[in-house]
């Protein structure tokens, strides 16, 4: 819920989407520490949408046995009839479209983001969702949501950047050294859903495995020897893109790119990589504004 603090904020309330008065029941299947899940939570929280969380056990994953799509996040949405939404960016684009425009049912909106099988350069079959960074708005709605036209494309590009580039910097950074890998897994096991014995093994074996896997990821994504440098560079590039004349990329309020970048970076909170990032980049003022904006919205 949005609370009015000042005269200035009274104006801002008009730009917030209408809240559907309890007519949208949401259940999020997630791993708490996964950046894609964190992105969805940041989005839902900021829009004041209540949702149930089902924490998925990452070893057995029996909580999502009902689904042929085997990744998290999955969002079950019930706006009359139950509907399964897959892929974090599809979830965000579809729900955002639904909040802005009541012309179509959520089911219809989701059908505008079709899964499309495709084959990567190396012949791996993958699922890609069409239009996934595009809100399905008519002209009037577009003018309302994007009074500055260029921001629509900018938002799209940075959302994709968050998914395709920024997320890949997380693992190499939080598993950089054996000590960091152990701290990360301690955090993952504490926050995630693990049995007691499972958790013990996951912590130590997971830390060892991810330490080595993260070296492979580092190589695959052509990161520098000191992966922090890539993280700092990415984060400062983001800050520079916002520039000095905007509080957020969305202007006076976060847009979907702000929420995506925040959601991804947030999973490092409490870890060495996060503290280093705060010290060595210019992200802090924006990051703090994001925290406040989400707290206000969820209050």
């Amino acid at each position: 819920m949005f609370i009015l603090f000042s005269r200035k904020q009274k104006l801002l309330v008009f730009f917030l989407p209408q809240l559907p008065a309890g007519n949208l029941q949401l259940t999020l299947y997630q791993y708490k520490t996964c950046p894609f899940c964190s992105k969805v939570r940041a989005f839902l929280d900021y829009h004041g949408l209540p949702y149930e969380i089902v924490e998925v056990n990452p070893i057995m994953r029996k909580e999502i046995k009902f689904s042929s799509y085997r990744k998290v996040p999955i969002l079950l949405a019930d706006a009359g009839s139950p509907l399964q939404l897959n892929d974090s960016s599809v979830i965000i684009s579809a729900i955002k479209t639904y909040l802005i425009s009541k012309r179509n049912s959520l089911e219809e909106i989701v059908s505008f983001y079709p899964p499309m099988k495709t084959v990567t350069e190396q012949g791996k079959e993958v699922l890609e969702y069409g239009n996934k960074y595009w809100l399905m708005l008519d002209e009037k709605e577009t003018k309302r949501v994007y009074p500055v036209k260029e921001v629509r494309v900018e938002e799209m590009q940075w959302r994709k950047w968050a998914d395709d580039w920024l997320v890949h910097l997380i693992s190499p950074n939080v598993y950089r050294t054996p000590k960091e890998a152990l701290a990360s897994f301690d955090y993952i096991v504490r926050e995630g859903k693990f049995g007691t014995v499972e958790g013990f093994f996951a912590k130590y074996l997971g830390a060892i495995a991810m330490f080595f896997i993260s070296k492979r990821l580092k190589k695959r994504h052509h990161l520098r020897d000191d992966v922090r440098e890539d993280l700092y560079e990415a984060v400062d590039k983001w800050v520079k893109a916002i520039g000095k004349n905007r509080l957020f990329m969305g202007g006076s309020q976060p847009n979907l790119a702000d929420l995506a970048v925040y959601g991804v970076l947030r999973v490092m909170e409490g870890l060495e990589a996060f503290d280093d990032m705060m010290v060595h980049t210019k992200i802090q003022p924006w990051y703090q504004r994001m925290e406040e904006a989400i707290q206000r919205a969820a209050a």
Copy 2:
């Protein structure tokens, strides 16, 4: 131009896009035998849009020196001010949107398909265009163009299939044997823009090089040992998707998926792979209907 032959076809004329009365000057930079260029020509011809062709010399490419985007096709469109459109599917989606809906300028429409830098799994930087299979229509236009709602997503999926899968079957098939490779290059040099000496060398060196490169492509895309089998399978899958109750995927008229598949397959005309495909698959009746539809439209 569309010519009325019968009463039945009189009805169909309403579904054809309005032809802009000469207010859209188009110049296509192409290699004649490239499938992506052929796709664009099939689209422009079917829609009765006149255009100039600039055949690009594939060795020096000085005809597209003006452009920082270094691939063909490139379409220069002048609907008041000159505008460069890159990527065959963006060209097709943007021009099609423009033909249906006069709400936005072509420049605005093109901005809805933004280039987005992304990094592939192997760390290669590539340019991807957002929304590239999506027509930017409002509700009324959507209902007019897609009276059967499901066809919109179907069209999108098969257009992507043509770009991501079908095109990859062409090279391995037309350079399958040394003899076929030579015949293909004879055709490419004859149809393309080459100097005399250049053409001679291109033909023999090109044939040898592509014979070997096509083996690598075959491996990369996990094709079968006999690449014809993959071609036959793909083509029959397409025919099956249309089914028995439609002349085209678009119903009684080709849609953008029909034009894409036709455009890709057409580059094999006159080569052994094409004749084999006609004999060993069920494509012929549809292919012939496509030829006729385009001939009628361009007449």
